[in-house]
């Protein structure tokens, strides 16, 4: 392990790490461009590099890309990456009330905390954790996602009915495409266009960024967002105030990231809703409440470390980005898996060391640049929105090299605008869209496995636990309301 750090203290590797992390932050901060895309695009450049150098660059891009997303999520209410969706909930209201710098500083602190805690699990407990997560079959996945979907109801601000409506609408848009459980097309109306369904990226950019651009373009900003100069508004006492939240969110993020196929956006969501439910004043969430930013940003970074665990110990990628990382290693004739530690320990420990250092580099870069980053809000809106719009179009197009996705993006921009106009929240809409395909696929896989027998669920203790937690989540708010009403009567 120490050797791995020694290797990385080569100036050439450190430069690659700084370059990768910096690039990641910039790309991550631009709505429409994601860490996944950056890694896919730089992958060919690494063909001729040494494997350790290649992986250092790519890990830097990964960490930077997930972290950079918080900047535009807070300043412009456009998640720079899918993982920062929940950061918009509280970050933007904070920025609107003149606390943009504070929100960004909190986000950075939370990101680093999440990264470092998940790194400890990565470095210390990889094999054990990977083996534990492996037991999870379709039933566990289904009930886990169901739990997240139910938490959605808890997430909804204002009307529960509108929240559920938004979620159901999101789920409906997830239906067209190839039905993975039978391999046939459904709801595609015989078009190639709908054969791959609506892509996550164009839907997300459309619903958040495009609708926001349209809204901002239509109405002049009500209030100039103030950017305070001087010292960064973070103090030692913040560590005490937000420490428990950061620890809990790190654990949730690492854990969710550990599960193959579920990434940072779901980690952030689960952690956000958990924080809200455990909070003494849940009503403040979504109005510019600091713990909201901390919960989301801690968890989405922790998810990276979590996802690296099955990657290096078993060769199972935890997310799309990781699948590309595996591709990068494969080019160098290295296959992550149980033999990686034996056959190429310098790579396995290199990944672990690079992940640690990437978090530090990210902290330094973002901390150093935060004042300049926050100046973003001073750029004339028209110019800024134009540039972002261009990147949104580019990003939607580049994901699949398909112009159809650009139309999807524009279409969902209008959908987003319409939903907000009738005060239906966007969060549940996008989350329904993201989660329902996983829930459906896992439920159908479960039923295939048990030959249609629902009772098979009761042979799976973890699945039962998740189911009970879901029911409790549903039952808790009305119960709490009744309890407090009774208390008031007395």
């Amino acid at each position: 392990m120490i050797d791995a750090f020694h290797v990385l203290f080569d100036w050439h590797l450190l430069m690659l790490l700084v370059l990768g992390t910096g690039l990641g932050i910039v790309i991550g901060a631009i709505p429409g461009l994601t860490a996944t895309m950056l890694i896919a695009l730089t992958l060919p450049l690494t063909f001729h590099m040494e494997p350790v150098a290649a992986i250092t660059l790519l890990i830097g891009e990964y960490v930077g890309g997930i972290s950079g997303g918080l900047i535009t999520a807070i300043l412009l209410r456009m998640p720079g990456t899918p993982a920062s969706i929940v950061t918009t909930f509280d970050g933007y209201p904070m920025a609107r009330s003149g606390r943009a710098e504070r929100a960004i500083a909190l986000g950075i602190m939370a990101s680093v905390a999440g990264g470092l805690v998940s790194w400890m699990f990565l470095a210390g407990m990889s094999p054990a954790l990977a083996r534990f997560a492996l037991q999870f079959g379709p039933w566990e996945y289904f009930t886990l996602v169901l739990m997240a979907l139910v938490m959605l109801a808890a997430l909804t601000q204002g009307s529960l009915v509108k929240g559920l409506l938004a979620a159901v609408l999101g789920m409906a848009f997830a239906l067209p495409g190839i039905d993975n459980s039978v391999g046939r097309a459904r709801l595609t109306f015989d078009t190639d266009f709908l054969l791959s369904g609506f892509g996550l990226l164009p839907v997300l950019i459309g619903a958040f960024a495009i609708s926001q651009i349209l809204r901002d373009a239509a109405a002049p900003p009500l209030k100039k967002i103030e950017v305070p100069k001087g010292r960064l508004p973070i103090h030692m006492r913040d560590l005490r105030t937000h420490g428990p939240n950061m620890l809990r969110s790190s654990l949730i993020g690492t854990w969710v990231g550990l599960l193959p196929g579920i990434g940072g956006n779901i980690a952030a969501l689960v952690s956000y809703t958990t924080s809200k439910q455990l909070s003494r004043d849940p009503a403040k969430f979504g109005t510019g409440h600091e713990p909201g930013i901390v919960a989301g940003e801690t968890a989405n970074n922790a998810a990276i470390g979590g996802a690296l665990i099955p990657l290096i110990t078993m060769g199972i990628p935890g997310s799309v980005t990781e699948a590309i990382l595996i591709g990068a290693l494969t080019i160098h004739q290295l296959q992550p898996g149980p033999l990686l530690f034996q056959n190429s320990p310098e790579i396995a420990y290199g990944i672990i060391a690079a992940y640690f250092l990437a978090n530090i580099v990210m902290l330094v870069l973002m901390w150093g640049a935060v004042r300049w980053i926050a100046q973003l809000v001073r750029i004339p809106k028209a110019g800024l929105l134009g540039v972002i719009l261009m990147f949104c179009v580019l990003g939607s197009y580049a994901a699949n090299s398909s112009f159809n996705d650009v139309w999807v993006m524009i279409g969902f921009g209008l959908v987003g605008l319409g939903l907000e106009a009738v005060r239906v929240p966007l969060g549940p809409f996008v989350i329904g869209f993201v989660l329902s395909p996983i829930a459906e696929e896992q439920l159908r896989a479960s039923l295939m496995l048990s030959d249609g027998d629902w009772l098979a669920l009761f042979d799976r203790p973890w699945a039962i636990l998740f189911l009970i937690l879901s029911l409790a989540t549903l039952a808790w708010p009305p119960m709490a309301a009744r309890l407090s009403a009774r208390r008031r009567q007395i």
């Binding site: 896919a40 992958l43 060919p44 063909f47 492996l134 037991q135 999870f136 079959g137 379709p138 190839i178 993975n180 459980s181 039978v182 391999g183 046939r184 097309a185 015989d190 190639d192 266009f193 054969l195 791959s196 892509g199 193959p260 196929g261 099955p310 078993m314 060769g315 199972i316 990628p317 799309v320 699948a323 590309i324 595996i326 591709g327 990068a328 494969t330 080019i331 004739q333 296959q335 898996g337 149980p338 033999l339 994901a399 699949n400 090299s401 398909s402 696929e441 159908r444 896989a445 295939m448 496995l449 030959d451």
Partner: protein, 325 residues
């Protein structure tokens, strides 16, 4: 010498004649085609995200061709994932059918056609050729009681649908498994797993009994898996103890070639020019070594033969697709 050969012909006429002859020779000769085609950079559409085998092989061969100037124009790989390949096919169709935009795919294309996805048929393509391919294995967990394929099949015959097979429905693992099941007369229970990593997760976690893996996936995994059968035509050098399905008496092979395709109207000379470059690239020692290290076989099958092979495989796949609900 020319004076002797062509008495009475004025110098001027001769010069023109030689010029025409030379130009004619240039136009009809293969050498000259290289000058007129490709006249623009060549775009290779890969219907998958970057990083998979199809993408890597395309990039490596393209790099090798560039390195050696086997084609006088640069080559760019463009990934167009989605729509069961329809996105990449549509991308190819948008450009003129002159060989400057081609596809690199494998037999998942045939499955998309057999499953009637994607609105395309083999008639829309001209095959440039196969540049090698790789075959998969069927594996169980190393703690599994089944030591051989025969033991496994015997169990399944006594207990129909008694074991769980991890497959992506309508993908290669599903079809290869179904071919074996049809040939041997048994039935498994399916659980959805759309990628190699999902299948590995289900096997290692004890949530599925059988799964298909690329030979390279199995070899790099190294432990926890027990291979029962290899679907190549001959045993693979890296795993000499794993019998082929044919040896065990089941007429099932799957070679999943790296397949290069152009639109059906592409001029034959252009297809031949790309084919010639690919044939050289796949014979290059560095490429052959990479293929061998990754349990792929490096071979070249020309356009006509590869298309004939594909049509035959498609018929087989269609008969299986007809059995899917």
């Amino acid at each position: 010498m020319s004076k002797i050969a062509m008495p009475g012909v004025s110098r001027r006429v001769f010069t023109i004649g030689a010029g025409v002859a030379l130009a004619g020779g240039v136009l009809s000769g293969g050498q000259a085609m290289a000058q007129t085609f490709p006249s623009r950079p060549i775009k290779i559409c890969v219907p998958f995200k970057p990083g998979g085998r199809t993408d890597l092989v395309a990039r490596m061969l393209a790099e090798k061709i560039k390195e050696n100037d086997w084609l006088p124009q640069p080559i760019a790989i463009v990934n167009a994932d989605g729509g069961a390949g329809a996105n990449a096919v549509n991308m190819m169709k948008r450009d003129p059918a002159d060989g400057h935009t081609i596809l690199h795919w494998q037999h998942q294309l045939l499955i998309a056609i057999a499953m009637e996805l994607g609105n395309f048929s083999l008639d829309q393509f001209k095959s440039i050729g196969y540049t090698g391919g790789g075959s998969p294995i069927w594996a169980v967990h190393e703690d599994s009681p089944y030591q051989t394929l025969d033991e496994l099949i015997a169990y399944l015959k006594d207990n129909p649908r008694g074991l769980v097979e991890a497959v992506g429905i309508g993908t290669i693992p599903h079809f290869v498994g179904a071919m074996l099941a049809q040939s041997a007369g048994f039935e498994t229970r399916y659980v959805t797993a759309n990628s190699g990593s999902d299948r590995l997760r289900l096997i290692l976690g004890g949530n599925a009994d059988i799964a298909l893996f690329a030979a390279s996936e199995y070899l790099s995994q190294g432990e926890n898996l027990r291979p029962l059968v290899y679907f190549g035509t001959e045993r693979l050098a890296q795993m000499p103890d794993v019998p082929t399905a044919t040896e065990l008496g089941y007429d099932v092979t799957w070679a999943n070639p790296n397949w290069w395709l152009a639109p059906a109207d592409t001029p034959d000379e252009h297809v031949a020019a790309i084919g010639a470059a690919l044939e050289k690239a796949i014979a290059d020692p560095e490429i052959v070594q990479y293929f061998e290290e990754n349990t792929l076989e490096a071979y070249w099958v020309n356009g006509e033969d590869s298309m004939a092979d594909a049509r035959q495989t498609l018929e087989q796949l269609k008969s299986i697709a007809a059995t899917i609900g």
